[in-house]
């Protein structure tokens, strides 16, 4: 099953073109690592696939649903963890988790929420305001959302930033779990070593073109 199918995607900010005519497929069960120099448009591509921005040209579909016209359907199957942690500083970790799930139309019982927080290793801080969290703890809280929601498509923007060794291991574990349940993962990263532990394929976005690389070339 094809998770992401992009056809001739291009993006321009006014008269400044970031990339043009990108076409690629990502299958379910694949983890695609997107490399490239700063300013090449990795985050922009990820944001377009996350339906946060409109492409200037071309189209893409996620699990067979048009990403431009059927945004609401696409959003149900994907989850994005971007630079901003999407957390409210005044709410506790637990409340943030509750609210994030409510925004997805889900209400989950307290027990499994606590369980998810335990799994990502911040169960002890569940009732602390996010204001007091460290950057790594915020990342972990975001991962807890993935644990509960189990999205079919996971989009990660620089997932390894600000994470300690245990955090990296946990991120990779969660990525593997997503893959096992027939989901797909796309991440942008600079960290070749950490990404190659889980990535099944990848690409280098440079000069507005995407150069695909295989699993063998990655390692």
């Amino acid at each position: 099953m094809i998770a992401i199918q992009a056809t001739n995607l291009s993006k321009a900010y006014g008269f400044y073109r970031i990339f043009e005519d990108l076409s690629f497929d990502i299958l379910a069960g694949e983890c695609f690592a997107l490399f490239g120099p700063n300013g090449a448009g990795k985050t922009t591509l990820l944001r377009i696939l996350a339906t946060l921005q409109q492409p200037s040209g071309g189209h893409f579909s996620i699990f067979g649903q048009n990403g431009v016209k059927e945004k609401e359907l696409v959003r149900q199957s994907l989850m994005v963890i971007a630079h901003g942690s999407h957390l409210y500083e005044e709410l506790t970790g637990f409340e943030n988790l509750q609210f994030a799930l409510a925004l997805r139309g889900q209400t989950i019982d307290v027990k499994s929420l606590k369980h998810a927080l335990d799994r990502v290793g911040i169960g002890a801080f569940a009732d602390l305001k996010v204001r007091q969290y460290s950057a790594g703890m915020k990342k972990r809280l975001a991962l807890a959302k993935v644990v509960i929601v189990k999205p079919k498509l996971l989009l990660l923007d620089e997932p390894y930033n600000a994470l300690d060794e245990a955090g990296v291991t946990m991120t990779n574990l969660i990525i593997r779990q997503t893959l096992e349940s027939e989901g797909a993962v796309l991440m942008t990263t600079h960290d070749h070593d950490k990404a190659s532990q889980v990535a099944t394929g990848g690409g280098i976005l440079q000069s507005g073109k995407l150069q695909l690389i295989t699993r063998e070339q990655l390692t």
Binding site: G14, F15, Y16, Q206
Partner: protein, 240 residues
């Protein structure tokens, strides 16, 4: 080149010419042929420029309103250009209607500004348009610029009749009839220049709208072309 831009280039001259003829006839009949008013004297001739400008600015805003809805529906960048063009021209016409109204008010009511419902409504309209033009400059993302501007234009368009009613009620409450337009009965002498000037102003608006739409489109086209060159050099540089 876009098909519509080519049509505009081909046919805009007709509109310009027709506007010029109508306005010249209107000016001639208005300034020289029509008699002065019994009460107001020669000052009544300001009406021939003030009233058509006011009408045209309302017509222009309704075109901006319609264009904004159309843009949100079809997302045609040319329509966005047209809306942007219409906003500046509407602002010009509204501003001129206010200025001429103010000049007219001085000899007739002996004051430059009165809180007349129509004057207030036009002032609010001018404020909305100023906000619209500022908003256009302040949106960084060019994709969002047109959408945000269209939203403002639509909300403003829905609001305008309500503003007019509320201001009218408010004035009649506080100053019943002490200052009102002295009854100028529209006789045939007045009707002729008024018709020509109104027609001329509408045609002039159409002509200006065409020219300005063309201008904004061409600016974007040139930028897009330059941008292609720019990003090509950017691509080749980062490839090295």
């Amino acid at each position: 080149m876009n098909r519509f831009i080519r049509y505009i280039q081909r046919y805009k001259g007709w509109f310009g010419g027709a506007a010029a003829i109508c306005l010249l006839v209107g000016l001639y009949t208005g300034l020289l042929v029509s008699p002065p008013d019994y009460y107001q004297g020669e000052v009544v001739r300001i009406m021939y420029v003030h009233v058509p400008l006011a009408h045209t600015s309302l017509l222009a805003y309704s075109i901006l309103f319609g264009g904004s809805i159309w843009f949100l529906w079809k997302r045609d960048p040319l329509v966005d250009n047209m809306c942007q063009a219409a906003s500046s021209i509407t602002a010009l016409f509204t501003g001129l209607a206010l200025v001429t109204g103010s000049i007219w008010a001085k000899p007739t009511w002996n004051t430059w500004w009165t809180w007349d419902p129509r004057l207030v409504s036009f002032a609010v309209l001018l404020l909305i348009l100023a906000g619209y033009m500022m908003l256009r400059r302040l949106v960084d993302d060019p994709d969002k610029q047109g959408i945000y501007a269209a939203v403002l234009a639509i909300v403003g368009g829905v609001d305008l009749p309500i503003i007019k009613f509320s201001v009218e009620w408010w004035r009649t409450l506080h100053q019943p009839m002490s200052i009102s337009t002295r009854g100028i009965s529209i006789s045939d002498d007045l009707l002729l220049p008024l018709t020509f000037m109104s027609l001329g102003c509408w045609l002039l608006f159409a002509y200006m709208l065409m020219v300005r739409t063309q201008m904004l489109y061409l600016i974007e086209l040139l930028q897009a072309k330059k941008g292609r060159l720019l990003s090509q050099t950017h691509f080749s540089q980062s490839a090295q």
